[in-house]
């Protein structure tokens, strides 16, 4: 099993969710986060005061999937979240040791 963590532009979350739903992904966790990469921040000016804002708002999507599905999920996220401009985000893929469905105490693939 894999844990896929995607950091994407906030306005792309609906497209990514719909594209994942279309290939049968039934669950995900979404968090509003802040951070920066090569895009860096932006500048805000209030009268005479200028402030550099380093951290930009992004959305983090976490999805646990079976090994066989991981490649397809990544392709779908890239396809839906890409604008081609700097700041599109990143996808991190981690090996996932176990998954437990709390209601039934199922483990592993059965719990996904």
């Amino acid at each position: 099993m894999k844990l896929i963590i995607a950091i994407i532009k906030p306005f792309k979350i609906e497209e990514v969710k719909d594209a994942l739903a279309a290939i049968g992904i039934e669950g995900m966790t979404v968090t509003e986060v802040k951070g920066f990469g090569r895009q860096k921040g932006h500048t805000e000016i209030y009268r005479g005061s200028e402030y550099t804002v380093d951290f930009l708002p992004k959305v983090k999507v976490e999805i646990a999937v079976a090994d066989a599905l991981a490649g397809k999920v990544i392709d779908v996220i890239v396809g839906a979240a890409k604008t081609g401009k700097i700041g599109d985000g990143k996808i991190f893929v981690l090996p996932l040791e176990d998954v437990v469905r709390i209601r039934t105490d199922e483990h592993g693939d059965a719990a996904l």
Partner: protein
Amino acid sequence: MLGTLFSPRTLLLAFGLAAVSWGACAAEAPAAPSLEERLTALEAYVNNADPGTALTGVPGPGHNAWMMTSAALVLFMTLPGLALFYGGLVRSKNVLSVLAQCLGIAGLVTILWWAFGYSFVFGKSFTESGSFLGHFLGGTEFLFLRGVGSAPNTDYAFWVSHNVFAMYQMMFAIITPALIVGAIAERMKFSAILAFVTLWMVFIYFPLAHMVWGATGSMNGVWNAEASIRAIDFAGGTVVHMSSGWSALVLCLILGPRIGFLKEKMAPHSMVLCMVGTGVLWAGWYGFNAGSALAADGVAANAFMTTTVAAAVGAFTWPMLEWLTRGHPSILGFCSGAVGGLVVITPAAGFVGVSGAVLIGLLAGAVPFFACTKLKGWLKYDDALDTFGVHAVGGTMGALVTGLLATADVNANLTGAAATKNGLAGLVTDGGLWFEQLKAMGLTIVLSVLGTIAIAYLVKATIGLRAAPEVERQGLDLAEHGEEGYIY
């Protein structure tokens, strides 16, 4: 029913009353006003003039209605206008402290005004008794608002109830120290602000307001035939904006900058609140400027128009300059320009025409813009919300420009009886008024700066000016008021 109506006690009372009124008639025998006198009084009501023999001691309903509306509008400028304008510009941890300061000042100044403030500003017993105090203050006849009833005080307005006039002027006394809050926001402790404001009102505001607006005021060129400085200030360029702005600069220098100033991000936490506050200020300013005619007359109508035009031109000019020089027309730019336009037109509103208002709007968008964006950066003083940059710079410029643009065409009082006697009328026609304005500006700056230095060091030496560093870090809301602005 009939029994009570014709009871012996009722009959006795009726006879008694008849006897008393018969006696009074016999003693005074006032002649009933003639039809001519009654008509003259009604015309005087329409023209906002002296009613003569009939209708004395009676407020005029239209003028009274406008002045009560205006008083409410000027209070609305502070609560919530200025409170939101400033509240939006601080960091979220300090938003309530600004609201508390505005509310606290409203209560404190009202008590001072009731006890002696009104009397010190608008009384005239000091001058009448030849006291030295008469140069700076009014008198003692209205202490605790004694005798301030619904009949007009004709020293100030023929048709406005004295109590309405006193409440209207009180709203100016409330907003003026509240303006200072902008410079010292996010770091001065609440107790120190209350102590400072109490002394500041007594030693700076009351004398200035008396000198400029009091019937015996030495800078009241329009209404005091004995004025030594023949200056004009329609709605408070010197009294309100210069005094608060220059005092704000001095106080923020003595107080010192906020912890982290020029190192940490201190951006406004809500431009939305700031914009809402600006809209309230703008609407409330009609009470401030058009209300300063103290009547619903032609001078008020002219002030209404000049106020609108100057505010709108200022609100447009500032962000256009931002767009040209820095790439974006910002919401804070629109708000600052609007307030700038309103500040600069304040002393001029009832004395200049609409072309003058356009010029004033342009200047108000440009000069305070320069003061807030460049001057402040060079000098590095921490005037947190730009009270100096907008109110002192704008107010000072407004006082001078008023001297250059004032015309008797829009306000005949500039060449009225008192103005003719003290020489103001001549200065208005021959163009020498600007020099009298300079004198009034100089006196205002000297009194504000020296007075604030003395008061600030006195408060600093006794109870201290600043909140503790850990309080400032945590935010004044939680530490000083035990509340949070936003619960997520």
